[in-house]
Subunit: 154 residues, 2 copies
Amino acid sequence: MELKLNRDTFTAFLLNSVPIAKAMGIEVESIENGQVVLSAPLLNNINHKQTAFGGSLHSVATLACWSFLHLKLLEAAQQEAPIVIVSSEISYLRPVSGDFLAICKAPNRDSWEMFLKVFQKKGKGRLQLSAEIIQGNQVCVTYSGTFVAIKKSI
Amino acid sequence: MELKLNRDTFTAFLLNSVPIAKAMGIEVESIENGQVVLSAPLLNNINHKQTAFGGSLHSVATLACWSFLHLKLLEAAQQEAPIVIVSSEISYLRPVSGDFLAICKAPNRDSWEMFLKVFQKKGKGRLQLSAEIIQGNQVCVTYSGTFVAIKKSI
């Protein structure tokens, strides 16, 4: 994935798009190599058990997937497309007791190509994306969200 | 449900337990009549489409359910019990374009009694709780989360 924006530009765009992400301390770590990596500090997202709040973990995973689709569509369709989240599922496998990453990796090639074909033809496409929350080397949370992108009329 | 804490005391407890809830502007509206109602302003949780960010909606729904279980266990078991969230699913039915409520209603009686029996006997119980996000009179989001409560050793 060759992305059209650099990391700093995209960070500013993301935090401007979703201001609560600033309070969560979210930063863009990487938008290269076919994946989006966001980070967040435990401190901003801590709960009374001294672990990360489940709602924050969900938020960072959602934003990783949203960012991935936004950037990938910019690259593939040469345009920004409003993206709506339809549904998501999250499993909290183990507590997050330190600063953490949310990683959204590219979906398989067939899914992406089918999505893009429908998006280009019908002006609207639906895609399922997955993310993981990583602390240290451990996967602590798995997330899957269904997103719809809508082509802007020209 | 007769609750052991009043609204202000519980609000302070909730915001102290999960500090990011302050940035989201979450307030406790009601902890009576067998349900927990939290509110949040659009402004704190807005996205670039001028609607509420999906991650914030998930956070407020999670906290409504967590609050319900915390308070109900205080009442039923006369003790605080650490609560862990295991998984959740959320469906975004329509955009939230104004201030909103998250309502967690009591599960059916059989589910609750089964949960409480297992919790009392084995020191650990698992319960599924549901919440809705309401704006105006419309249900905009449905949420379901699975929570585990662990009895503190005395």
